[in-house]
């Protein structure tokens, strides 16, 4: 960005250490939250929110996007945009299958297939080695 001379922009050490410290703290937070036993959807949302903040710190300071050419920044953001389209549209497709294809899109057909099957006894689950009973 606008350097007429070829000397690079050098980020102060304190910023690198600060970013690193933040990443470590956020890692402790995300692991700590996982022991709270949050409901499934909420645990995904919290984990992805923390991961996104961590990703921002890495991309902005470690990857120098804060001092990079705007073109590279847009390239990066464009990839995120297209990943967003990919995820959202594909998820719409997954979520609408049940209503469109009553039998092939769900587990119903497979459930009917296995209704009469009983697995041989030697294949039944063995008790957990770590279980306390």
């Amino acid at each position: 960005m606008g350097h007429s001379h070829s000397e690079p922009h050098v980020t102060p050490l304190s910023i690198y250490y600060g970013v690193f410290g933040t990443l470590i703290v956020l890692t402790f937070i995300t692991v700590g939250v996982s022991y709270l036993g949050l409901p499934s959807t909420l645990s995904v949302i919290v984990a992805m929110a923390v991961a996104s903040v961590k990703a921002f710190f890495v991309a902005n300071w470690f990857m120098h996007l804060n001092h990079d050419s705007k073109f590279n920044v847009y390239l990066f953001l464009a990839s995120l945009w297209f990943i967003g389209i990919f995820f959202i549209f594909t998820t719409f497709d997954l979520a609408s299958r049940d209503s469109i294809m009553k039998h092939s899109g769900t587990f119903e057909a497979r459930k009917a297939n296995v209704e009469k099957i009983i697995a041989p006894k030697d294949q039944w689950p063995v008790a957990s080695e770590t279980a306390s009973h």
Binding site: P8, S34, P39, V58, A59, M63, N72, R110
Partner: protein
């Protein structure tokens, strides 16, 4: 390289570039194009995760309840990888401080950079060793991908005539078609394996940089290779930042 250019261009400047700045920004643009491709490539794997989770959400919860992945090992690996990202960033910073004129200061910063690169590569190897222990444990208990899956505590039923796995076997021999641990571990091994392959390649290119630094290469106007490998390494870290909670933590 023609000789009439050589006298006013440094030897590391390719003849088709006007300035080092132009050469460096071209290098970096190329690297970003590659990294963007990497993100799109990994997004396919993450979409596979979303789709599998959409159909087999309870399997993911059961994997966590049964503690089939070691959170302490995943956590340690996250710290190791974050630390290696820091040492890589500091190595790039040292490269930025090497004066173009060779003197004691250039030697000092180049040596610092080499040390930081070697530390980064060592940390990457620590990551791989921990991953090896995780993989070998899974090999031992049988929590393996697809048809290799043979975990006795959470068995799956294979239809003899078609060879397809129909679902998990519950108490009393009942088949549960909505439980698919073999698919979870397919995802686990493909995603962490692809990421691990990137780590292995990372060790290679980081050591290649250390060797070039040992030969006296790189200074503050010629460090694109260091910076680009740094970008690659941070991307590997970035992917792990999402992979770790999705695999090890979320319910």
């Amino acid at each position: 390289m023609s000789s009439e250019h050589a006298h006013h261009h440094p030897h590391y400047q390719a003849h088709h570039f006007h300035t080092m700045e132009q050469q460096n920004s071209s290098n970096k643009l190329g690297m970003w194009a590659f990294l963007v491709q990497e993100l799109l490539f990994f997004s396919g794997l993450f979409m596979a995760y979303i789709a599998t989770r959409y159909f087999y959400g309870e399997t993911f919860t059961e994997v966590q309840e049964r503690n089939l992945l070691s959170i302490p090992m995943g956590f340690t690996n996250t710290i190791v990888l974050l630390t290696s990202s820091l040492t890589m960033a500091l190595a790039v910073r040292e490269a930025q401080l090497i004066p173009t004129l060779e003197n004691d200061e250039s030697k000092k910063h180049r040596k610092n950079m080499m040390v930081l690169l070697v530390v980064t590569a060592v940390l990457a190897c620590v990551f791989l060793v921990i991953k090896y222990f995780e993989y070998s444990h899974k090999l031992h208990v049988g929590t393996l991908p697809g048809h290799f899956y043979n975990f006795a505590e959470w068995p799956v039923y294979k239809d003899e005539s078609t060879g397809r796995i129909l679902g998990a076997i519950r108490e009393g021999g009942i088949i549960d078609v909505e439980s698919a641990p073999h698919i979870f571990f397919s995802l686990y091994f493909v995603m962490t394996g692809t990421h691990g392959l990137h780590v292995v390649i990372g060790v290679g290119v980081i050591l290649w940089l250390a060797l070039r630094a040992k030969r006296g290469e790189f200074n503050q106007e010629n460090y694109s290779a260091v910076e680009n490998v740094g970008l690659y390494w941070h991307l590997v870290d970035l992917i792990w930042i999402f992979l770790f909670p999705l695999m090890y933590l979320v319910q």
